[in-house]
């Protein structure tokens, strides 16, 4: 087995062992069934929820909201990053604010957003956006800082127009850092939206999890939690593979 395969095998073994351990602890009633149900029951409950079509609307709502928050935060974060990078004075003023951005508990503003926009998906998109944008701004600034000066010089020697230089030299050179921004923005969009749904909303996966919790419906609650976990893991896995492929090429592997 190659070293890489061994690492992947170890990773999978750890996850499988944890699930098996949980299954055994639950089956042996060491963990009370009122607290946690065995993973196998979560999976079968989830299967039923999906096939019955009961959570279809929730899935559609949550993923549409997350997707909108993600796309908007990446666009806004990238644009702001480029603009701030071009204005060093503005940047000096904003730097401490960006650095302390994530110490703000944004969810305290959530009720205000509902008052402003009403009980629909807009406050959720806004909270996801507010939560994720700064990560993209910081990643963009970081990426642009690290474009070697010799590359921008080369773009000028090759007589590229400023727009073309940005598209064909600056952006590809900054790509690894921008990719980190994408990954963070996605994670923050998920957190913002699902947590928002959890607090107050009329639908979505977060809402359904909270609803099941309030009604002592452990099966549905854990099934939905498992669903969210699996989806987030898959999406992150895909991004990870894409990122590794890009980095491997640049590292000459």
């Amino acid at each position: 087995m190659s070293r890489k395969a061994a690492i992947v095998a170890t990773r999978i073994a750890v996850i499988v062992a944890a699930i098996l351990a949980l299954e055994l602890l639950c089956r042996a009633k060491i963990i009370s069934p009122l607290t946690l149900i065995p993973p196998s029951e979560m999976a079968s409950a989830l299967w039923e929820l999906i096939t019955s079509g009961k959570i279809r609307d929730d899935i559609v709502q949550t993923f549409t909201t997350v997707a909108l928050a993600f796309v908007l935060s990446v666009a806004a974060g990238f644009t702001l990053g480029v603009v701030i990078h071009a204005l060093p004075r503005v940047r000096r003023a904003l730097d401490p604010l960006l650095a302390s951005y994530y110490s703000i508990p944004f969810f305290v503003f959530y009720p205000l957003l509902i008052a402003l926009f009403g009980l629909n998906t807009v406050p959720l998109i806004v909270i996801g956006l507010v939560f994720a944008t700064a990560a993209m701004v910081i990643a963009t600034l970081n990426g642009l800082d690290r474009v070697p000066r010799v590359m921008t010089k080369t773009a000028r020697i090759l007589r590229l127009s400023p727009a073309r230089a940005v598209l064909t030299v600056t952006l590809p050179a900054a790509a690894p850092y921008l990719f980190t921004g994408l990954k963070l923005a996605l994670a923050y969009s998920f957190i913002g939206v699902i947590a928002g749904e959890f607090i107050l909303s009329g639908g979505g996966l977060g809402f359904s999890i909270a609803y099941a919790y309030n009604n002592f419906d452990s099966e549905t609650m854990y099934a939905l939690m498992m669903f969210v976990l699996v989806i987030v893991t898959i999406v992150n896995g895909v991004l990870h593979v894409l990122e590794q492929r890009m980095l491997a090429r640049r590292a000459g592997r």
Partner: protein, 279 residues
């Protein structure tokens, strides 16, 4: 080797009738709270097709000079012309440049790196292919066309950068310590390559280097710069034949040229590092 006796110590040779690039009274001052007078005033005539090197102590403004000629920065005072047209803070057509730092694009293969400038200059696909293939062969990169820069050594990456410049068929090639990061043996061999491409392309070459032997070996003329603000204190004509290579280091005249360069530079270098009893 049959080498004409080097005209060591000669003042700047008589200006050529049609200078390829011409600098008159050029200075460069970097602004800010404490302005730094980096360069000049200086005059320079690069003859069409000559190999001109610039040596000087660290921080004397060699790279600044190159940026000015390339049109990357405007001079504070004075005028620069390339092929009788003013260079004014914009890179003119026909100038190529290679820098000391690795400027190969890590996200592109060797072939795509080399074709990069051509694809963006409106040259059609067939012509691009032909020119890229030629340059790949010329620079000895045939076995690496589909490799990414990270898979290559520093010397090979620098070849890619030179190839990317050559494929655009520049008439003036500016080289800012392109081999500065390479080991001595590789430098000598790259020097041979440089002479070969200079002969074949007929381009004018201006090489900035801190290696005196490199300047002495490669150049028709070597401009020696003073410490900051850099001016030309002397221009030495080597008198080498056009057909030459690194074997010239065995020639007695080579030693004389190198020694002359060092005797001119020693005092300036001492000044540059802040020694009190310079000279």
């Amino acid at each position: 080797m049959n080498v004409a006796v080097a005209q060591v110590g000669g003042r700047e040779s008589a200006p050529q009738a049609a200078a390829h690039a011409r600098l008159r009274g050029v200075t460069r001052v970097f602004g800010g709270k404490l302005p730094v007078h980096a360069l000049g005033p200086l005059d320079l005539d690069l003859a069409r097709g000559e190999f001109f090197s610039v040596v000087g102590p660290s921080g004397c403004g060699k790279s600044t000079l190159m940026d000015l000629i390339a049109g990357l920065n405007p001079p504070t005072e004075g005028s620069i012309t390339f092929e009788d047209r003013a260079v004014a803070g914009e890179v003119p057509d026909g100038i190529g440049a290679v820098f000391q730092e690795d400027a190969s694009f890590p996200w592109l293969t060797v072939r795509d790196n080399i074709a990069f400038g051509l694809r963006r200059s409106g040259v059609d696909a067939a012509e691009t292919r032909r020119r890229v293939d030629y340059v790949i062969g010329f620079m000895g990169l045939k076995d690496f066309t589909n490799a990414y820069p990270a898979q290559l050594s520093g010397g090979m990456r620098q070849r890619v950068c030179i190839a990317r410049t050559l494929v655009l068929q520049p008439r003036l090639i500016l080289l800012d310590e392109p081999f500065g990061a390479l080991d001595q043996q590789t430098r000598l061999l790259m020097g041979d390559e440089l002479l070969r491409l200079w002969r074949e392309t007929g381009a004018t070459v201006m090489l900035i280097t801190h290696a005196l032997d490199e300047a002495a070996m490669l150049s028709d003329r070597v401009g020696v710069m003073s410490s900051r603000p850099g001016r030309f204190i002397e221009t030495i004509t080597t008198g080498w034949p056009r057909e030459r290579d690194s074997n010239i280091v065995a020639d007695t005249a080579f030693g004389a040229v190198t020694a002359r360069l060092w005797s001119l530079l020693r005092g300036e270098s001492l000044k540059a590092i802040g020694a009190k009893d310079a000279r």
